[in-house]
Symmetry: D2
Subunit: 130 residues, 4 copies
């Protein structure tokens, strides 16, 4: 499976705070977009997974903010799968404005069924040994 | 059924825009809170309605903004049911900071079932003739 | 000045509600994106206007919801300036999924200075007589 | 200075995702509310700090999600200052539904001036040696 992907994002006015900065919570929204598009680029689809009763939940999320993004900035987000276990998927995120790195993130996901019970990560979502 | 109710709301930092104002979209979030709490005060519960397969959807929403609310303001929202028909419920909203009126809203709701088909508004939600 | 513009938008997971629908408040966020991009396509820039002390505030906003948008839908938003007066600018919005119209909006803006005093709408933002 | 504080929060419909869960990004919004109210309870005020040119920025944020919060849940958030250095303030957050712990968070803040330059954390915000 494809393990790395980039998207571009325009910072919305509504996402900007009284300092004129992208509010720190919005970085996690961008990370969610990044992994959705990585999955799509890999041939998968979260909406379809949900329709089939598989739900992906966040179990750990972290972001380190190096420099502020601002309203109307045009950003580039790099998403990579860095680790999979039978139960979890870990992504790493790097957000850039031009060549300047603004933030680094890490989100760990688990797959659960509609009843909330943890499921094995589907094999096709697992990182392959080289 | 109770037809009018008031709640108090603190403007969050995350809801504030680069002008330091409550972002205009957040007024509609407050209106949704207002009608949720009016319904609760009247003995009803949206979560339970949804669990029973009844869904309340917005068909029309409007807000007129008189004066800006700001980050950290302590506001008072008055919600009133002003009209019900067999198919729709209309609420009116007034948002205040102290005695100053900041905004006036109007939201029209319809009830649909899980398949999206419009349902009659439950009798207990109808305005009663006096 | 250019008076009509279209953008495309992917519905984010974070914007979707427990019914799986795009939350009704997010339509207004999309409208704001629409007018930002119309202005950019016309050679203007909101960020620069703000930096120069001109602020654009919403004085009236309305949306009529015809059919729900859903998580992961790929939408098309058409934004048009329909009326300008010395003090206000009115945009009209139409949101589509394919050929299906999902919502129709209308937002009226005013320009204020940093002190909140209403300013004349800059001439270059005025609709021209034909 | 007061170093611990609790607030109660009702999960909004708009904050809930297609799984019916509080979206994972909203926990960070709650954390921001928690530290705002801790500061207020301690006699301080973020809005006033900003008006005086001091800005508080997030440099690191993490949340571990133990169990999902749901739409309309009534939650309790405990915020504590756990560490201060000359340049940073670290808060810890615990989110509860009744006695059940739903999430644990950690956010590190820095104080910057209007030009973005890091400032010493004001002495009154420092944890005191016992």
């Amino acid at each position: 499976m494809l393990t790395e992907h980039e998207i571009e994002i325009r910072v919305r006015y509504q996402e900007s705070d009284p300092m004129g900065f992208l509010h720190h919570t919005c970085y996690f929204i961008y990370f969610e977009m990044g992994r959705t598009e990585l999955l799509r680029a890999a041939g998968g689809n979260y909406r379809q997974m949900e329709a089939e009763g598989q739900r992906v939940v966040v179990v750990d999320a972290e972001c380190r903010y190096h420099r502020p993004a601002r309203y109307d900035d045009w950003l580039r987000l790099r998403t990579a799968i860095v680790r999979t276990t039978p139960a979890k998927i870990e992504h790493r995120y790097e957000l850039f404005r031009g060549e300047e790195k603004l933030a680094t993130g890490r989100v760990v996901l688990a797959v659960v069924n509609a009843a909330g019970k943890v499921q094995p990560v589907p094999e096709w979502m697992q990182l392959q040994e080289k």
